[in-house]
């Protein structure tokens, strides 16, 4: 019994390591594109990893771990944005005590005009564009993940690209 638990734990650790090596970077970038506060990206992705892997027994299909992780990242990003919106209304955001290891990369990201333009469009349009063109998901996959129809995905995508184009031109 103990050995089986240990085996299960080892398997979990191996799967965690494997998933981390394969997908952590892409999920971190996904979060960076979805969130308007890049400092929260690490927290969101780590929380997604913890949630999905601590409930591995409920994941029926091991091949869908990435799908679960993506879904969790999107949901947590939404929650973070919503929470931050409320927090901004109530209190000023405190300054971080120390610089993050990724601060340099984030600074580069902050300077990107596309990122600025992306943060200016609707949240649903941004999610569709990021999932469709960054994560290379099909329209059906995006529709399934976001819980909307394929037609809505197409509409959000085309309108999002148009809105993005307008904003990019405005930056120039």
């Amino acid at each position: 019994m103990v050995s089986s638990d240990r085996e299960a734990g080892d398997v979990t650790v191996d799967l965690l390591t494997e998933t981390y090596r394969d997908h952590y970077g892409s999920l971190l970038k996904l979060a960076a594109l979805l969130l308007d506060d890049l400092a929260s990206c690490e927290d969101v992705v780590q929380e997604a990893f913890i949630r999905v892997h601590s409930a591995r027994s409920r994941v029926r299909d091991p091949d869908k771990v990435l799908a679960y992780l993506r879904q969790t990242v999107v949901n947590l990003s939404r929650s973070t944005l919503r929470r931050r919106l409320i927090g901004m209304r109530l209190a000023p955001k405190p300054m971080p005590d120390m610089a993050s290891a990724e601060e340099g990369a984030y600074e580069l990201l902050e300077k990107d005009a596309l990122i600025h333009a992306l943060r200016g469009i609707q949240r649903r349009q941004r999610e569709v564009l990021v999932l469709r063109y960054f994560s290379d998901m099909t329209e059906a996959q995006v529709a399934d993940l976001l819980g909307i129809s394929i037609g809505s995905v197409k509409a959000y995508g085309s309108r999002g690209i148009e809105a993005l184009r307008v904003r990019m031109e405005a930056f120039r």
Binding site: G25, D112, Y133, S158
Partner: protein, 360 residues
């Protein structure tokens, strides 16, 4: 016609967007130590979640068990003889105007004291109360109510729900004394011991100050002599019964100089036709002694106040009466009640109470 051009434009824009997206976040990498953190955090989160689940399950179990035990304890009709509060008596009002009062469950205390005051009341009752020969003894149960029926570990104490029917039959009124027989049919196997739990309510629905005495053959043989002090082990379909006598008291303004104080009813005043041979006798009925024992009166006087309707309720378990009868008295009354006994023809399951006591 313009759709292909739009699609082409969208694809071009999508391709450019894809490239720009990857280019924008290409410099992002995981912070060092993230994997170690995740390796620690995942099992910790799992442990916390399991602990929370276990705590929740434990809490639900504890609450449900506690509620069940509390509910059972609150309505336990068999209080402990060794001490503690007598919940049964707390559920009813003890009588203050008659010694040995206390309707309902449990042994009474002299002067109708609250049982919760003194846990040793059962042992003091018989010695503290002055009894005279022929006077009714206070409610002293032949069977210790805390005794567990011997040899019947699986049969629980009878409840109201254990009964398929509880019927009350009036056996007639003789000399002002009304006799009632309660017969109950058991639905599920259970045990009974001691005296039935009676509650006397007045016309206004509140507990009336009516003392309840045990029908001791030596002191108050108002009822047919039945084997008492037995623990009944009842099976489905069995019937048991008990009898009570409703003895209206004489009004204070109505002196009864001619009637002997110790003869509530003459020997000819048998309670029922079937109990003539063992009916009440003149020498052993309740008396109006100086101790304040109630005196049954033959007929109410013409100057007595208008009779009041009392409701005598019988509850197998708890306070909710399973059956009740309406009886009348002008100036109060006393109730004499037998122990439980098997209905005629069903004597097979009763056990002596002593065996139950020693087995406990």
């Amino acid at each position: 016609m313009s759709a292909p051009h739009e699609d082409d434009g969208l694809e071009e824009a999508g391709a450019a967007l894809r490239e720009r997206f990857h280019q924008a976040v290409s410099s992002l990498e995981a912070a060092p130590g993230t994997l170690d953190y995740l390796r620690r955090a995942v099992p910790a989160r799992r442990r916390r979640r399991n602990a929370a689940l276990a705590a929740t399950a434990l809490s639900v179990f504890a609450v449900s068990t506690g509620a069940t035990l509390a509910a059972r304890g609150s309505f336990d009709p068999q209080p402990s003889q060794a001490g503690g509060t007598n919940v049964g008596n707390l559920l009813t009002t003890a009588t203050n105007d008659a010694p040995g009062g206390g309707s309902g469950h449990g042994p009474p205390t002299p002067g109708g004291q609250d049982m919760s005051d003194d846990g040793s009341a059962p042992s003091q009752t018989s010695s503290a109360l002055p009894t005279t020969p022929g006077s009714p003894k206070p409610l002293v149960l032949a069977t210790p109510l805390s005794a567990t029926p011997a040899g019947t570990p699986s049969a629980g104490v009878c409840q109201n729900s254990s009964m398929s029917s509880v019927a009350a039959t009036q056996n007639g009124t003789t000399g002002g004394v009304t006799y009632e027989t309660f017969v109950a049919t058991v639905k599920t196997a259970c045990t009974l011991a001691g005296m039935p739990a009676l509650t006397v309510l007045g016309a206004d629905g509140t507990t009336a100050k009516v003392p309840i005495y045990k029908a001791d053959p030596a002191a108050a043989p108002l009822l047919p002599t039945e084997p008492s002090g037995q623990t009944l082990t009842l099976r489905p379909g069995d019937r048991y019964e008990f009898q009570l006598a409703w003895v209206p008291l004489a009004c204070p303004t109505n002196p009864t100089p001619t009637s002997p104080p110790s003869s509530p009813a003459s020997t000819s005043q048998s309670p029922t036709a079937t109990s003539t041979s063992s009916g009440p006798s003149a020498s052993s009925g309740p008396t109006s002694s100086s101790s304040g024992q109630p005196t049954p009166s033959g007929t109410p006087s013409s100057s007595a106040p208008a009779p009041t309707i009392y409701s005598v309720g019988y509850s197998v378990y708890g306070v909710q009466p399973a059956q009740s009868v309406n009886l009348m008295a002008g100036c109060g009354a006393s109730v004499y009640v037998t122990d439980y006994f098997q209905a005629p023809g069903q004597r097979h399951a009763s056990q002596p109470a002593t065996s139950a006591t020693t087995a406990h």
